[in-house]
Symmetry: C2
DNA sequence: CCTATTTGTTTGGCCCTTGACTAATCGCGG
DNA sequence: CCGCGATTAGTCAAGGGCCAAACAAATAGG
């Protein structure tokens, strides 16, 4: 019971080559052959057809051979940057981010608009659609060259049904995101959960490049995450895999809206951290303020960040013990606190880790910052669109 | 950098067919073609070569066509049971189990010997080797027809290095199991961790048949487990993935040898349960006694099992929330307590579950009982041996 | 009996690999 | 500086694996 679509071997090979080029940028034909598992001669043929279709260009630059020392240098080939662009939309905790990137995954435009906390998705679609149109204008891109729009939605996402999962009460639950935004933009739209896309982006272009076993942890308005094992993103049955916000880190802790006590989300997460500082500093505080004040030595801010780090670290330790990843990548707005957060986090994680897991585990800050999820959305579009692109060119 | 071994497409196709037949038993050619993704004509050819090599036999029995109603019935083909047998050895908490099964995965012999708790692996190898030789004699199997021996070792296993992982202090840590037993038996030996093999067996022949997202939880001397997601077993970097014995279920609980407080293993697990009953019942109690006494209404025994179930259920809830599996399978000796354990377990799991995860999660007792790990060892041998078998026959 | 449906087999043709060959570079010794 | 072996990249011809399409066989249902 495989995929019922009958795609020829040739098409799948072309697809594999394009995907590889997308991930690695420029490569020689021999390099491609090694990575994709085809022979050099076959790859040469495939590249020839791709060049004929203007999907791939050959550069003058020569690449040093694989052996390092001697050997004929390879001719660099890459995806033709002019062959298309993809748009990433990230509906965040209180922003919408939009980026446009070309098929070589170079970001050309990045825009952002602030939204009120707890905004209504319906209104946000309108804002996002305007933002996207503005970005397209600004980039001067012909709409026909846009391969698609990827959307990052907060919280878990049910990929099978194509809507945000309706577990916790959320304004996004059950909203057909792709349909809503697709209708407004008249472009193909794909959607997935923010943490899954963040992990995808960090794996392709960020701190988890080449990792097959890692955990992505997003410390933001809420707390979420994603697990990659055997090089594959775990989704679970409903898209709930990786959702670590309600992992219990202290069974005697405060009540959580989920009905348990001491969920990670009751200790970490933007609103919790800010509320802890509110009695002292009032409610006009931003996270950016807190971080700079902490760097300047403010004890309260330091403590708020360090407490969050400690509890997150406990969760990291537990996840490390049961998943044994090579790395845990910390993303989300709180990650901007750097060592103020990561120091206590690492310490707590080390204390909770078994030697088996802890000895190999590295804990890193994500490399893509606030753009991670939007970049993941772009990556999703580029990955999913390859097939259509090739099919269209096949004529 | 794929696998450097160059195996021809033809070999891989043959392998896929054999693997499928191993999993499903008897099938028609058309059925195989659908499942393995090849065309009917190609499968016919492959089956012809396998029949010529005596690896596959065609039965007189006819199978009803896929459409249900009309259509020519298919000819049933299956692996030739006479083409080989595999041996599974399970080093348990205080037993060694040995089984012999043929390539159609029918168990022909099952033997078991008791060992002292905390036995020395060196001595256990001798016992196991004797047991295996005895089983071979009893089965009247020609040693040349034995494809290999699979060994199940307690605790995590580092597949890359081929030895039990050396995280917690364990008499098994670092022992080259395959070499030790292979030297004594002069047969090819493969080894892996007990929980990984238990999960493999439950997935192939037991309660998790066809599941691509599930958690296996072994409640035995220690507490361990395994995660399957996207149809693949998670191993992590060191084979530590799935090791849930030190998942913290109560941060204020008793100290654990790992240095944390309230690990699952401090509440569940055979020694803990028995020790709780020791003041009242003395130390001559066996788990079997406890279970029968509990069924007869003994409040102490009921409570001991129910307490274990409750704590295990908390862990199940947490794992369900972060992994979102379709099922959690409970194996190990404690699972024999049935509803006495599972009732409280299910209740605690339900209380801790988020709706997103809990609504789809089923919690079941493993179907293979104490043979699970030995059967997994057999499955491993059969799976790994296919390649050699085909290579040898290719001549 | 006839149609619809599915299975198993046969045949021409495409995709891919193997092996050999040429091209291009590095490192070495002279 | 030049020549030469070693090594790698890219291309070309021969052959094998696999598929699609057509066909024969076998059954259910009307």
């Amino acid at each position: 019971m495989r995929t019922p679509v009958r795609e020829s071997r040739a098409d799948r090979s072309r697809l594999a080559v394009v995907r590889l080029l997308r991930e690695r940028g420029t490569m020689s034909r021999a390099d491609i052959a090694r990575h994709v598992g085809l022979s050099r001669s076959t790859v040469s043929g495939i590249i020839a057809t791709l060049v004929a279709d203007d999907l791939v260009v050959e550069l003058e630059a020569k690449l040093t051979p694989a052996g390092g020392g001697a050997g004929r240098p390879g001719a660099a080939v890459m995806l033709n940057p002019a062959s298309g662009e993809a748009i990433g939309v990230d509906f965040g905790y209180r922003h919408v981010h939009v980026i446009i990137a070309n098929v070589a995954h170079a970001v050309r435009i990045a825009k952002s608009v602030r939204l009120p906390v707890g905004y209504d998705p319906g209104a946000a679609f309108d804002v996002a659609a305007d933002l996207v149109r503005g970005a397209i204008d600004e980039a001067g891109t012909d709409p026909s060259r846009i391969l698609g729009v990827g959307v990052s939605v907060p919280g878990p996402f049910d990929t099978r049904r194509g809507v945000p999962s309706s577990g916790m009460p959320s304004p996004w639950a059950g909203i057909p995101v792709a349909v809503e935004l697709g209708g407004r933009l008249n472009l193909p739209v794909l959607a997935d959960g923010d943490t899954k896309l963040g992990a995808l982006a960090e794996r392709r272009w960020g701190a988890a490049r080449g990792y097959d076993e890692f955990v992505y942890m997003k410390l933001h308005g809420g707390v979420g995450g994603a697990f990659v094992s055997n090089g594959q993103l775990a989704r679970g049955v409903n898209g709930g895999a990786g959702e670590i916000g309600h992992l219990v880190v202290d069974a005697t802790g405060p009540l959580c809206r989920c009905g348990n006590r001491g969920c990670l989300e009751t200790f970490v997460g933007l609103p919790v951290v800010m509320r802890a500082l509110e009695p002292t500093y009032g409610d006009r505080l931003t996270l950016r303020n807190v971080i700079t004040m902490a760097w300047q030595g403010d004890r309260g801010c330091i403590r708020a960040l360090s407490d969050a780090g400690t509890m997150a670290g406990r969760a990291v330790g537990m996840l490390g013990n049961i998943l044994n990843p090579q790395s845990v990548i910390i993303g989300g707005a709180l990650a901007a606190a750097g060592e103020l957060l990561m120091g206590p986090l690492r310490e707590a994680a080390a204390a909770a880790s078994l030697p088996l897991a802890g000895d190999v585990l590295t804990i890193q800050v994500g490399a893509l910052g606030p753009q991670a999820c939007a970049l993941g959305a772009v990556a999703m579009v580029l990955g999913e669109t390859d097939e259509k692109l090739l099919a269209a060119m096949g004529s």
